[in-house]
C-alpha cells in the first residue's frame, strides 16, 4: 500500500516537473547564509526576494515572445571556499540554473568562479573585488569595481584628507580580499609618499580576536592613519583594541565595512571614521532612492551595499537574458547565449551607478567609488565621490 502511494507520488512529480520547467527560468544564488558573515547572505537574499516578487507580480519576465516566471534558488556557502564550490556544482548540475549570482566575498568567489567557468555557466559576482575572480574567465562577470582601484583610492584619500605621510595596515593574510587590497594600498601609498612610507604592515589570521601584538607595533610605528580592509565582525575589535593601546589616529576602511551590522557591533568606537565603498544610502536619489524606500519598507532596515549590488547583478543578468532572445530549452545552449548577451552589454544603469564594460578582456565594470563618513548618529553619510 505504502509503495503504491510512493509510486503514484513519483508519477505526479514526474509529470509535473517538465511542465513547471517549461515556463520558469531559474537563477542560483550562492550566498553566505550562515558562517562568518551571515548578514551579507541575508542582505543578498532580501534584495533577491524583493526582485523576484517585483518581476513575478508584474506577470513574469518576457524573453522572446514568451513570459517566464522567475525562480531563485538560494544555496548557503557557509562563507567557506569549499562550501562555495559544492554549492556552485549543486546549483549548476542538480538544480539546473541558467546563471548564478554570487558568491559575495572574494574568498568564495574566486574558487566558485573557476568551477562556474569550467561548467560553462554564467556567473555574476556582485561584491567580489579581487581581480582573480574574473581573470581569463569568459563566463564570469563582476558587478563592482576592483581592489586594484579601491586600494589606490583609499591611499589617495588618506594622503589628501589626513595629510598622512606614514600609514599602517592591519589585515587578514589568510583571506583573498583583505590581502589583495592591503597590497594594493601599500603599493599606491608608497608610490605617492615614497618607499617605506607604509611603516607597519601587520597581519593576522581568520578568526583571531586578539590583535594586541600587531597594534602595539602599529602604535609605536608613528603611523598617521591605519588602513583596515576587514569585515564588520573584526573591525569593532580592532578599533577598540587600537584605542586601548593608545592609538588615536584615524582608521580608514574598505567596502567590506559597509555590509552587515557594523554599527550595532562597533557603536561609538567607529564614529568619525571613513571608508571607501560602492554606494551611500544617505542622500540617494532617483532609482536608488526608490530601491532604498521599498527595501526599508519591506525589511525595516536600510539596504547595505551588498543588497544594492545583488539587485544590480541579478537585474543585469535578467536584462541580458531578455536580450538573448527566445530560450531553446537546452540548458547548455541557453547558458552560452546568456553569456554572449551579458558580454554584449556595454553600459548598464544600475542603482549603484553606471557600469560600463570594456569591449574585450575580463568582464570588470568601470564605475565610481564613494567615500563614506560614519557620522555622529552612526549613519553612513556620503562624503566624496572618486572616479577612475
Amino acid at each position: 500500500m505504502k509503495r503504491s502511494w510512493l509510486i503514484a507520488l513519483f508519477c505526479v512529480l514526474g509529470l509535473a516537473s517538465p511542465v513547471r520547467a517549461a515556463d520558469t527560468v531559474k537563477l542560483g544564488f550562492n550566498i553566505p547564509l550562515t558562517g562568518d558573515i551571515p548578514d551579507v547572505g541575508e542582505s543578498s537574499k532580501n534584495a533577491a526576494e524583493m526582485l523576484k516578487k517585483k518581476i513575478n507580480d508584474a506577470g513574469g519576465l518576457k524573453v522572446g515572445d514568451k513570459t517566464y516566471k522567475v525562480e531563485f534558488i538560494y544555496e548557503d556557502n557557509e562563507s567557506k571556499a569549499e562550501s562555495a564550490l559544492s554549492a556552485t556544482r549543486k546549483l549548476i548540475t542538480q538544480d539546473g540554473v541558467i546563471g548564478m549570482v554570487g558568491p559575495q566575498s572574494s574568498k568564495q568567489a574566486v574558487p566558485a568562479a573557476e568551477a562556474a567557468n569550467e561548467l560553462k555557466t554564467p556567473m555574476m559576482a556582485p561584491w567580489s573585488t579581487n581581480p582573480n575572480t574574473t581573470k581569463a574567465r569568459p563566463y564570469v562577470f563582476r558587478g563592482c569595481f576592483l581592489d586594484t582601484f579601491q586600494g589606490p583610492t583609499a591611499a589617495k584619500f588618506a594622503t589628501e584628507e589626513f595629510k598622512a605621510k606614514k600609514a599602517a595596515v592591519l589585515y587578514d593574510i589568510a583571506s583573498d580580499y583583505p590581502k589583495g587590497l592591503a597590497e594594493d594600498f601599500k603599493a599606491a601609498f608608497e608610490k605617492i609618499n615614497g618607499p617605506g612610507s607604509v611603516v607597519a604592515f601587520e597581519t593576522f589570521t581568520t578568526k583571531d580576536v586578539d590583535f594586541s601584538a600587531q597594534l602595539t607595533n602599529i602604535a609605536k610605528s608613528g603611523a598617521e592613519v591605519l588602513f583596515v580592509p576587514q569585515y564588520y565582525n573584526e573591525v569593532p575589535l580592532i578599533v577598540q583594541q587600537a584605542k586601548s593601546l593608545g592609538f588615536n589616529k584615524p582608521v580608514l576602511g574598505s567596502d567590506s565595512w559597509g555590509s552587515g551590522d557594523l554599527m550595532g557591533l562597533c557603536g561609538d568606537n567607529c564614529k568619525g571614521f571613513f571608508f571607501v565603498t560602492h554606494y551611500a544610502a544617505a542622500g540617494a536619489q532617483g532609482k536608488t532612492k526608490e530601491f532604498i524606500d521599498e527595501y526599508t519598507k519591506l525589511y525595516k532596515k536600510t539596504p547595505d551595499d551588498v543588497a544594492a549590488l545583488t539587485w544590480d547583478g541579478a537585474n543585469l543578468m535578467l536584462a541580458a537574458l531578455q536580450s538573448a532572445g527566445p530560450l531553446s530549452g537546452d540548458l547548455a545552449k541557453d547558458r552560452e547565449a546568456l553569456m554572449k548577451a551579458m558580454a554584449g552589454i556595454k553600459k548598464f544603469e544600475g542603482i549603484t551607478g553606471n557600469m560600463s564594460y570594456p569591449a574585450t578582456g575580463d568582464h570588470d565594470p568601470i564605475k565610481c567609488a564613494v567615500v563614506v563618513k560614519i557620522d555622529d548618529a552612526g549613519k553612513f553619510a556620503f562624503y566624496k565621490s572618486v572616479c577612475p
Binding site: 548578514d39 583571531d208 565582525n233 593608545g246
Partner: protein, 307 residues
C-alpha cells in the same frame, strides 16, 4: 624596543589569562575522571552567551526593571553567570557522561560523546539564536592608563587579576579542602574510593560545577574584552587551551595555569616579531618540543598503571 616588549608582556598576560581559565576546567575534569571534556570550549561559549543575557537583563534592556549601574551589573553577573554555566556543565554530565560511565564503557566513547556534545552546543546555539553576532554591552567604561610609555586598561588588569585569583582559589580547593582531597582520591583510584564511603557521583558533579563555573567566568571576561560574541568562538580557543593544559601537565592545576600563560606568551611574542602566519607554526613547534622532552608536561607527574 623595551617599551614594546613590556607592552607585549602585558598583552600576553591578558591573552594567556583566557587560555589559563579554560585550561583549568579541562584539567579539573581530566584530573578526576581521566576524561578529556572536549565540550569544554563550547561550555565557555555558552558561558559568554549566558553572561550576555544576564548583563542585558540586569542593565534593564529587556524592560523588566529599570536597570542597574554597570559596575553593579558586573558584580551580580559574575556569580550568576558562573552558577548558570555550571548548571549547563552538570546537565551535560548527567545526560551524556554519567549513563556511559554507569555502563562502564571504554573512555574513548566518552571522549567522542564529549566532542558531539560540543557540536550540539555550537549548532544548538546557531539554530536557536541565529548566526549573527551579538555585541556585548560595555559594563565598565574602558580607562587607558599610560605608565612609562606602556598602556594598560582597567579591563586588562581586571582580567589578569581574575585569572590569578581563580587559580589560587582552585588550588586551595583541590589541595586544602576535604572535597578536594576526595577529588584527588577519585583521580588516584576510581574503584576503591566508593568502597571508602565517599560519594563518587557527588564529587564528580562538584568537579563539573567548578570546571564549568570557571568556563562561565572566562566567557564573561572574554566577552568584556572582545565584545563580539558568536557561536563558534569557543571551538578554537578551547582546543588551544586543551593543548596548553597538556603541555602544562594535564591533571595538575599549576600546570594548566602555567601552560595557558606559556601559550599566550609564545603566541603574542611570535606575532610581535614575525608575520602572523608563523604564529601557530612556531607556537606549536615549541610546545611539541617541550612535550618530547617532558612527555608528562611541565608540572605533570608520571603515573604507573598497575596491571
Amino acid at each position: 624596543m623595551l617599551q614594546s616588549f613590556l607592552q607585549n608582556i602585558l598583552n600576553a598576560l591578558q591573552w594567556g589569562s583566557f587560555y589559563s581559565l579554560i585550561a583549568l576546567g579541562y584539567c579539573l575534569v581530566y584530573g578526576v575522571l581521566l576524561l578529556i571534556n572536549f565540550a569544554h570550549g563550547d561550555i565557555f561559549m555558552v558561558g559568554a552567551y549566558i553572561a550576555f543575557y544576564c548583563c542585558m537583563f540586569l542593565l534593564g534592556k529587556f524592560g523588566v526593571f529599570a536597570g542597574l549601574p554597570g559596575w553593579m551589573v558586573l558584580a551580580v553577573a559574575v556569580p550568576l553567570t558562573m552558577v548558570l554555566t555550571a548548571v549547563v556543565g552538570v546537565t551535560l554530565e548527567r545526560i551524556a557522561y554519567r549513563p556511559l560511565r554507569r555502563k562502564g564503557v571504554n573512555r574513548l566513547y566518552v571522549v567522542i560523546t564529549a566532542l558531539m556534545c560540543g557540536l550540539i552546543l555550537e549548532n544548538g546555539n546557531l539554530a536557536l539564536l541565529g548566526a549573527s553576532r551579538k555585541s556585548f554591552p560595555t559594563l565598565v567604561p574602558i580607562k587607558v592608563f599610560e605608565i612609562f610609555g606602556v598602556t594598560v586598561t582597567n579591563i586588562k588588569l581586571m582580567v589578569i587579576g581574575v585569572a590569578i585569583l581563580s587559580f589560587l582559589l582552585l588550588h586551595f580547593i583541590v589541595t586544602r579542602t576535604k572535597i578536594g582531597m576526595a577529588m584527588r582520591a577519585i583521580s588516584y583510584d576510581r574503584f576503591a574510593v566508593p568502597l571508602m564511603g565517599i560519594p563518587a557521583d557527588t564529587v564528580i558533579v562538584f568537579t563539573f560545577v567548578l570546571g564549568s563555573g570557571f568556563a562561565g567566568l572566562a566567557g564573561l571576561f572574554f566577552a568584556m574584552t572582545y565584545p563580539v560574541i558568536d557561536p563558534y568562538m569557543g571551538a578554537l580557543i578551547g582546543w588551544k587551551a586543551f593543548i596548553a593544559a597538556v603541555v602544562g601537565g594535564i591533571g595538575s592545576i599549576a600546570g594548566a595555569f602555567a601552560g595557558g600563560f606559556l601559550l599566550g606568551f609564545v603566541e603574542i611574542m611570535v606575532v610581535a616579531f614575525f608575520p602572523s602566519t608563523y604564529r601557530d607554526l612556531i607556537a606549536f613547534s615549541i610546545l611539541l618540543l617541550i612535550l618530547s622532552i617532558r612527555p608528562t608536561g611541565l608540572f605533570g607527574v608520571a603515573r604507573r598503571t598497575k596491571i
